[in-house]
């Protein structure tokens, strides 16, 4: 059977930031059903629409780069899919762009290698003189950044996540806080979440994380999931 795939880029905004990854997947399934698209169904007793999401986003974070792959039973132009799904989405979720993945593309999760974030931090009380550029330079100059992670089934272990930090930049002050840009490795070969680096940078009263892009590894190159300039 020929597969008709469409890839959507979605925004998850403030209103939707408390929806967990699994809950988002279910909400999207339902939105696609409301949109009345001819989505392919999985086999079995409980057929589910064939949808695939990119890497999970932390609860509470917003995103400009949630990707959704849909498999359709018959071809529908991506712009039409975007319009119909867009009209059916719950509050706080929007379609930003639509396209067709490369014919040889594997599942989003399998190809995903890195993600970009903008993080807004508000320094904790008593540290008004937080020196952002300095903190960034110190973390980048350091050899290791070891964090403690819980282990499935109880216990915890130490992990050096410094190698997973692919980029870090101080963007500048923003209201009562500051903005940072981060590129972090993600995917099956290991990765990290942006919040895990923050204790290396200072003490913060408030943190707002927004994902701005995810990157696929294709032919040894970091590639955007959809061609740029369509959003």
């Amino acid at each position: 059977m020929s597969r008709h795939r469409v890839r959507l880029r979605l925004a998850k905004e403030q209103e939707a930031r408390f929806i967990s990854h699994l809950d988002l997947a279910r909400a999207l399934e339902r939105a696609v059903r409301r949109a009345g698209l001819p989505v392919a169904l999985s086999e079995g007793f409980h057929p589910l629409p064939k949808l695939a999401l990119g890497p999970p986003l932390a609860l509470g974070a917003t995103s400009q780069a949630e990707y959704l792959d849909l498999e359709l039973r018959q071809p529908v132009p991506p712009q039409e899919v975007a319009a119909r799904v867009g009209a059916a989405l719950p509050p706080g979720i929007r379609v930003l762009a639509a396209g067709v993945p490369e014919p040889d593309a594997r599942a989003l999760m399998a190809e995903c290698a890195a993600a970009d974030y903008v993080v807004r931090v508000v320094p904790a009380g008593g540290e008004p003189e937080w020196d952002g550029p300095r903190a960034v330079a110190d973390l980048l100059a350091g050899e290791a950044w070891v964090v403690t992670r819980p282990v499935k089934g109880g216990g915890e272990r130490q992990v050096d996540i410094r190698p997973h930090l692919l980029g870090l930049k101080y963007l500048g002050p923003d209201g009562d806080g500051h903005r940072l840009a981060m590129r972090v490795r993600t995917g099956s070969a290991g990765g990290a979440r942006p919040e895990e680096y923050l204790p290396a940078l200072g003490r913060f009263a408030r943190v707002e994380v927004e994902r701005t892009e995810v990157w696929l590894l294709r032919n040894g190159q970091l590639t955007a999931p959809l061609p740029r300039g369509r959003g």
Partner: protein, 630 residues
């Protein structure tokens, strides 16, 4: 108010589990701006966690009805989970509505649904979290008006000290009358006594502060003294024709998982099978079926507006719906290809139902549930559960043959007249079912036996019956535990103390309300969750209130004893209930009135309504004829 929303979103919700339960922006949630000139703002409360409350149909119906009005808004609130409650109390923040994060106390009406007695502590906790005094008399101003409805309102007395007004029966019509009254009362600047007096004039509304209860020296009710203009009993409200009654289709679709995460279309209301233990079967009479075409249209609409992958055809006994089979076949043909499953909340004990279950995809081949309720034919005749052993074995055999390997059987222990022979009957039935399964599904067949403890309920023929003493219930549980020992049989039973407390509240009076308040002061909140329940707390509370709980739970009642719940009526005559109680003790069955002469239960005459079956409509409406919408 905006400030509260900001604090909740940025400070509180990031610190609690599953915050999407509290954001109030699920698909189809209704947001009306404060500037919309709304005359009446209603907060609908379900006194249990979001997961439970979001699965409940009644509040969805009221939410839809109220929000259809341009002059009113309904928002929601559920019992906060323990972590959210802690954050709210620590920061001295009030309970807030989900949709607009408004303080609960800022609403005009704060309305609770009462689905089970063990949610009563949560009712008090919600009032307390709202910053309101618990007792109605201590809330001097008229707003928010605290009202309550739902099946437990058929014995309103334990909550009478706390609730300003109870709404008895079906809400569809009376809610509009109450909103109109509230709107006028607000415009008139009514004080609380005047507001309550006006409310007491609405049929179906019971205002406990306008009724004094007199007691005999032995504690039983001597009589009711209503204020001038108040007529007792307050009879329930009932809608005559479901096809002409609005039904929601833009259901709120939760983000997080809830107990029943599916579309619900109510195919009928009421049940006249006449099981003598069943309060729902008594108080929701008469049977009124929706027409098949109305149901089909509602299913189409609700699926289109929610995108749910499953639709449940709900009622007290969906297997009895007159045109169930053609309806299901139509729905599967139409919606199956989209991956939508049809499900039934329960199955009748017969092979017809098993065949239907085989047609619908929603029932996984892992388990089918049947409710024979009692272990012997004699006891099933006592409770008027019209199921034979032959029916049950036929049904489970059909199920095992159709590929199911797991069967669940629901029983009650402690039913009136039960002896060890009846308990042995449960054991024997379980093994016979397992035997039928092993023949057809060798090595795979499993039987789950669930036995709850019987709780006598108001307005049922068993309202005169004592609950079996706790020690004896435990002995009966042990009898079953000791004999249901096969590895292929799983036995589940209920906490006896919870069933005892349920029995006290179910037939309690206003003094039980004092004990409820004492229990709340000692920390009772989410008592329907066994991990939050503590019997010691309640024992202290009963002692502090000076009442003996077993007087309420375990005492046999005399024929002429007046009951606290007789301030309200479900339309059933006392003589019918007593007749049924006598027939029960003689082991005489009473057939379903849809196939038999009228048993004069009193409902149709008292409430001027009639049973309504879709098969009659099928006979009247020829094929291709359009059906009138609501």
């Amino acid at each position: 108010m905006d400030n509260l929303r900001e604090v909740v979103l940025s400070e509180v919700l990031p610190r609690v589990k599953k915050p999407a339960r509290y954001t109030g922006n699920e698909l189809n949630a209704v947001h009306k701006p404060a500037s919309a000139g709304l005359s009446v703002r209603v907060l609908l409360a379900f006194p249990d966690l979001y997961e439970v409350g979001m699965s409940h149909l009644g509040l969805k119906i009221l939410y839809d009805l109220i929000n259809r009005r341009t002059d009113a808004v309904a928002e929601r609130v559920y019992a906060p989970d323990t972590d959210l409650e802690e954050e709210l109390r620590k920061r001295r923040l009030p309970l807030f509505s989900l949709e607009t994060t408004s303080p609960a106390a800022s609403f005009d009406v704060f309305g609770f649904t009462l689905q089970y007695e063990l949610s009563y502590p949560a009712v008090l906790n919600l009032l307390d979290l709202a910053g309101l005094p618990l007792r109605s008399v201590e809330r001097a101003g008229p707003w928010p008006l605290v009202i309550a409805g739902g099946p437990c309102a058929y014995n309103p007395e334990p909550l009478a000290p706390f609730i300003d007004a109870f709404v008895i029966g079906e809400g569809e019509e009376v809610v509009g009358e109450i909103l109109d009254l509230v709107k006028t009362a607000k415009a008139d600047g009514c004080d609380k006594p005047a507001l309550l007096a006006r409310l007491a004039g609405v049929p179906g509304v019971y205002v406990p502060s306008l009724v004094e209860v007199e007691h005999h020296a032995d504690g039983t009710v001597a009589g009711f003294r209503p204020a001038p203009g108040v007529t007792l009993p307050v009879q329930k409200r009932v809608v005559a024709d479901l096809d002409k009654t609005p039904y929601p289709t833009a259901f709120i679709v939760p983000y997080t998982e809830v107990v029943h995460d599916r579309a619900m279309v109510e195919v009928f209301r009421g049940c006249t099978r006449g099981c003598r233990f069943c309060q729902a079967g008594a108080v929701y009479r008469p049977v009124r079926e929706r027409g098949r075409r109305t149901v089909e249209r509602l299913v189409d609409e609700v699926l289109a507006r929610t995108g749910w992958e499953e639709v449940s055809l709900t009622s007290l006994s969906t297997g009895d719906y007159s045109c169930l089979e053609p309806l299901i076949q139509h729905l599967i043909r139409l919606h199956g290809p989209e991956g939508v499953a049809v499900s039934l909340p329960s199955l009748r004990v017969d092979s017809f139902s098993v065949r239907l279950a085989g047609q619908i995809q929603a029932v996984r081949k892992t388990g089918l549930t049947f409710a024979p309720e009692a272990g012997t034919q004699r006891l099933r005749e006592v409770i008027n559960k019209n199921v034979t052993e032959e029916d049950l074995l036929g049904a489970v055999t059909a199920a095992f043959e159709a590929g199911w390997s797991r069967v669940k059987l629901y029983f009650m222990i402690g039913l009136p007249t039960e002896t060890d022979e009846d308990l042995q009957g449960i054991v024997d039935l379980a093994y016979k079912v397992l035997g039928a399964g092993r023949k057809r599904r060798p090595g795979r067949a499993r039987v789950t036996v669930s036995a709850s403890s019987f709780v006598p309920k108001a307005h049922t023929p068993f309202q005169w019956a004592p609950q079996v003493e706790r020690e004896e219930l435990r002995r009966r549980q042990k009898y079953l535990i000791d004999r249901l020992r096969d590895r292929a049989i799983e036995f589940q039973w209920h906490d006896v103390d919870l069933s005892f407390l349920e029995a006290v509240l179910a037939r309690g009076d206003r003094r039980v309300g004092w004990a409820l308040e004492e229990a709340f002061r000692r920390g009772a909140k989410l008592d329907s969750w066994s991990e939050h329940f503590s019997l010691e707390r309640w024992e202290e509370a009963f002692a502090a209130a000076g009442i003996d709980p077993s007087w309420y739970a375990n005492r046999p009642r005399a024929r002429d004893e007046r009951f606290p719940w007789e301030v309200v009526g479900a339309g059933l005559s006392r003589s019918y209930l007593w007749r049924e109680w006598e027939r029960a003790r003689r082991g005489e069955q009473t057939p379903d009135c849809r196939d038999a002469p009228c048993h004069a239960c009193g409902v149709c005459v008292q409430l001027k309504v009639h049973p309504q079956l879709a098969r009659e409509e099928a006979a009247q409406v020829g094929p291709g004829q359009a059906e009138a919408g609501p």
